[in-house]
Symmetry: C2
Amino acid sequence: MFEKIALIGIGLIGSSLARVIRCENLAGHLAISTRSADTLKRAEQLKLGDSYTTDPVEAARNADLVIVSVPVGASGAVAEAIGPVLKKGAILTDVGSTKASVIAQMAPHVSQGVHFIPGHPLAGTEKSGPDAGFPDLFKNRWCIFTPLPDTEPAALERLSEFWRRCGANIDTMDPAHHDMTLAIVSHLPHIIAYNIVGTADDLEAVTKSEVIKYSASGFRDFTRLAASDPTMWRDVCLHNKDAILEMLARFSEDLASLQRAIRWGDGDKLFDLFTRTRAVRRSIIEAGQDIDAPDFGRQAVGSPEKKTAE
Amino acid sequence: MFEKIALIGIGLIGSSLARVIRCENLAGHLAISTRSADTLKRAEQLKLGDSYTTDPVEAARNADLVIVSVPVGASGAVAEAIGPVLKKGAILTDVGSTKASVIAQMAPHVSQGVHFIPGHPLAGTEKSGPDAGFPDLFKNRWCIFTPLPDTEPAALERLSEFWRRCGANIDTMDPAHHDMTLAIVSHLPHIIAYNIVGTADDLEAVTKSEVIKYSASGFRDFTRLAASDPTMWRDVCLHNKDAILEMLARFSEDLASLQRAIRWGDGDKLFDLFTRTRAVRRSIIEAGQDIDAPDFGRQAVGSPEKKTAE
Ligand SMILES: NC(=O)c1ccc[n+]([C@@H]2O[C@H](COP(=O)([O-])OP(=O)(O)OC[C@H]3O[C@@H](n4cnc5c(N)ncnc54)[C@H](OP(=O)(O)O)[C@@H]3O)[C@@H](O)[C@H]2O)c1
Ligand SMILES: NC(=O)c1ccc[n+]([C@@H]2O[C@H](COP(=O)([O-])OP(=O)(O)OC[C@H]3O[C@@H](n4cnc5c(N)ncnc54)[C@H](OP(=O)(O)O)[C@@H]3O)[C@@H](O)[C@H]2O)c1
């Protein structure tokens, strides 16, 4: 599809892209760039591309498509470095989990004639690094674009086609709405998960080993999200601050009200909330966004002791 | 193992017990009792026992082992009803998720010569009712007893052996410690999950259908817990109030501090917390309490579109 694709950043997302680009034969030449010599070496051992460099400028030069897959806080510096060498007609995109901040950081460094199209594939796992990627990570997942007002439809369509070939379905929305939506469906859940695991880790009355031993009773479900990459999530928190603070305020308000219902023994209120939330789960399963196997189907893959306890 | 076992309550837990009692041949006669005619009929269709009644007294009469598996708020009334007919030497136990309250409710109705041993199998799923049970629910899970000071060791050992034959491992602790431990490993996670799903359900800026569509980005992981039985969880909240309020207070305090770090852009603090929580996940996996497959192994059981997105 493209003569030369450059991947800047070769972690979970970058290396999954490298793998699907190879499988689907989407690039004549695949140039890989990452910050550290170690990660670069690992990418080379995994044979993820055709050329390897720690210099993003070298990778981006002459590329028809440049995909930046680094923590969102680093996207400005990358754009500043590669901006001057991007060729006319090239498409520059990213995969960052926040969009308004990435646009503010990158857009100033993109010269006329280069198509800058911010993107975010809603696909990932709690793992990171080049070994964590796999070619069908994006299959049947959403990739959201937040095009700028002057984005050329032809360039957007070309990038959309690229992501469709990677397996994704395309959505577009404006950056502010993206950031608000992701704040509730992704950022708040991760922050809450990090927080509850932190709270449990700090207790004196219940030992750490008890928390671990009995974790299958519910706690465990939060630890997967709380094991996600700290750098990525620090950057998400810093770069989607307003939307996250808004969601946190609502969450805390609701929690205070729930706490009050518990303190005053308001069983009807508890029952109503606990009933309403069941319906959301049902919709998610009907929408094919989760499996209905009890315990996420852990039984099917794990040994019997991997069942959910309460 | 027992001439006659009576199960009072035949939902997820009761019907799983019925199934494993049958498989392992643990009772000469298995008497089943449940409140409603509908549930009783279903239990009979499923051939879960040898006799069926909506009258707990009839089921409990002459039983050597009586297991009460009803919402914790209903355990007092059940004990009051069956207390007078329990035979000398019989063991009376329960499976309730809170222990101090269940003891306070049931103990006054147990006459001398009956062995009352409160218990809690840490095994369950988000499903309820007699169809939800399965015989190896308790396999390799913990069953915690909170024996009273005057519990006879021989009776405790007999009940322990029963649960071991059901597949469980046995732990004992005092009721207050049980309630504190479960508050953090189970009750707080469920309450937080209910709360976040409620918050998402109330938003105006992001539509319900967007929340569902993009739920695989993290939100989804909470919805399983938030789909648990409303009656059971209302009762847990009402009957483990003090420990839950204590954990909620700590959680909220920690969340306020995290919120402050986000507001003031304290990246180091965020990074430290997000790093520390990763270690907890690692310990849980090492302890065999979860599988390390990305996305809980959903990929292995679901179709490709069931992957976790971020
Ligand atoms: N993980 C997910 O679930 C997910 C899902 C959708 C979108 N995203 C977004 O995708 C992007 C990459 O995430 P990932 O999961 O692929 O991360 P990752 O596995 O941790 O890989 C990060 C990559 O970025 C490079 N990098 C890190 N810090 C850098 C810096 N300061 N300057 C330049 N390069 C830097 C790393 O290079 P070295 O290793 O050489 O240091 C590595 O190549 C992030 O913006 C994230 O928000 C993530
Ligand atoms: N679910 C879990 O994950 C889990 C795990 C460990 C322990 N537990 C504990 O196990 C107990 C039962 O939970 P479960 O999941 O088996 O519940 P379930 O599937 O909802 O079944 C509840 C059973 O209790 C009966 N019941 C409900 N309300 C009653 C009342 N007011 N008076 C008398 N009987 C009543 C029901 O009878 P009808 O259907 O005939 O009305 C049914 O037989 C609870 O104490 C819970 O805390 C649950």
